[in-house]
Amino acid sequence: MGSDRPKKYEKLIINNKRLDGRTLDELRPVKIEVGVIPSADGSAYIEIGNTKVLAAVHGPKEMFPKHQMNENRAVLNVRYAMLPFSTTERVRPGPSRRSNEISKVTRHALESVIFLEEFPRLAINLTLDIIQADAGTRATAITAGAVALAHAGIPMKSLVAATAVGKIDGKLALDLNGPEDNFGETDMPIAMTSTDKNITLLQMDGDFTKEEFKKALGIVKNSIEPLFEAQRKALQDYYK
């Protein structure tokens, strides 16, 4: 947040439009494809703006290692990884502290909608590979993960989609892209259920007054629907 800005990003909002032409409460273009990984039980490919993610589900299957088994419900394992070539600076392969934390919050974001109790002692493994990163990788991964789980036939109460709302040049804006994330003041990733718009992921970095926070939550709630539509359409297209 707030490092030295190159000239071309001196202003991120001009005439209430952002540099990529979007309005302040507009999502980036979204594209979702289902069933892209034949050997997985469920899979999805997603593009949100320039962020590209592959999601695959294997399971429900035997838990390994066994001592992590839960007698009463399935365990959801989530592995989020930025591939080495996904960003401007090469990412060292292997888990990092950042990817560990994101795997955890992503797991929490999706667990609440899965009927895990239907598969005691089993594991559901969700792998999320960030192919290309341009802000919002965890939100994009969650949106893809929910589709891959549905495609795998895992019973779910609801879909989940995620995006971010932030503050750039002092104004609230939905679904930050790369430069907006780098040079903006605040970033708040949020995941919501499709049924009730309940919140399953909430993180925030930066600065929000109480009023800004309330308004930011409202923007997401009012503008997230296209993500659910894209999820449903991708699943319908697959089964057509």
Binding site: M1, S3, R97, R98, N100, E101, S103, K104, V105, R107, H108, E111, S112, V113, M188, T193, D196, K197, N198, I199, T200, L201, L202, Q203, M204, D205, G206, D207, F208, T209, K210, F213, K214, L217, K221
Partner: protein, 264 residues
């Protein structure tokens, strides 16, 4: 049913009416903070919230800046869940929880600009101050993030910057240039939701009953600078907004305790 399961059921069923230890829903256990407890660290603090105890040491050293930020010092927050603190930490500490705790504390400090890394520059591109904030959990009885967050900021506020010797090394004989420049007092407040009831400062037993935990860090100005939701249950917009208010109110109270502990 095991005793643990019975306890959990009891707490879950009764939480709307009363808490196990008689506290009000928004009441924090007694907080005690002591700073300057460690002789070899540039800053230090011990925070106790009820039986939960956390020690934080701040080490200040000279290092080289990262190539892409030649004018910025380095702030590192690390945490270790010592096997001391809990029987559950013995078979390998809970890596994921430990990483999350240190990252949430780190973000609270970083995003509130409490330590401006530009202030830590000694010689651009060559030498900067490196500030290590090491969190050590000494006894785990719940609410570790809040305890760690308070201990970290108290330790930073108590920290001194050593003089630099003529040969460019850090003076380790106890001569200081002054205090570490600390601009804000970010305070994390974690709220647990059990069966739709919101509680502040959950004990370890209460945490085992929690559906969701939301941590919100507030600044002196009362603004929000960092948030983190955990747990595999949904929360509603109304709950989140309410938790924001709880965090502001409790954050303010705790900030006073922190300020007092550093002054004395």
């Amino acid at each position: 049913m095991t005793i643990l399961q019975q306890n959990k059921q009891y707490i879950t069923e009764n939480i709307a009416k009363s808490r196990d230890d008689g506290r009000k829903h928004d009441q924090t256990r007694e907080i005690s903070i002591e700073t300057g407890i460690l002789g070899k660290a540039e800053g230090s603090a011990r925070v106790q919230i009820g039986k939960t105890e956390v020690i934080v040491g701040v080490k200040v050293d000279i290092g080289t800046p990262f190539p892409d930020t030649p004018k910025s010092g380095v702030l590192m927050v690390n945490s270790e869940f010592s096997a001391l603190a809990s029987p559950e930490f013995e078979n390998g500490p809970p890596r994921e929880d430990s990483i999350e705790l240190s990252r949430v504390v780190d973000r609270g400090i970083r995003e509130s600009n409490t330590i401006a890394v530009e202030d830590l520059c000694i010689e651009p591109g060559e030498k900067v101050w490196m500030v290590f904030v090491d969190i050590n959990i000494t006894n785990h009885d719940g609410n570790l993030i809040d305890a760690a967050g308070m201990a970290a900021i108290a330790a930073l506020m108590s920290a001194k910057v050593p003089k630099i010797n003529e040969d460019g090394t850090v003076n380790r004989d106890g001569e200081y240039k002054g205090s570490l420049p600390v601009k804000d007092i970010p305070v994390p407040v974690s709220v647990g939701i059990i069966n739709s009831t919101m509680i502040v400062d959950a004990t370890k037993l209460e945490e085992q009953c929690i559906d969701s935990r939301i941590t919100i860090t507030t600044t002196k100005a009362g603004n929000y600078c960092a948030m983190q939701q955990a747990g595999s249950h949904e929360t509603t917009e109304e709950q989140i907004l309410k938790i924001g208010e709880i965090a502001q109110k409790n954050g303010k109270e705790r900030r006073l305790i922190i300020e007092k502990s550093v002054k004395k």
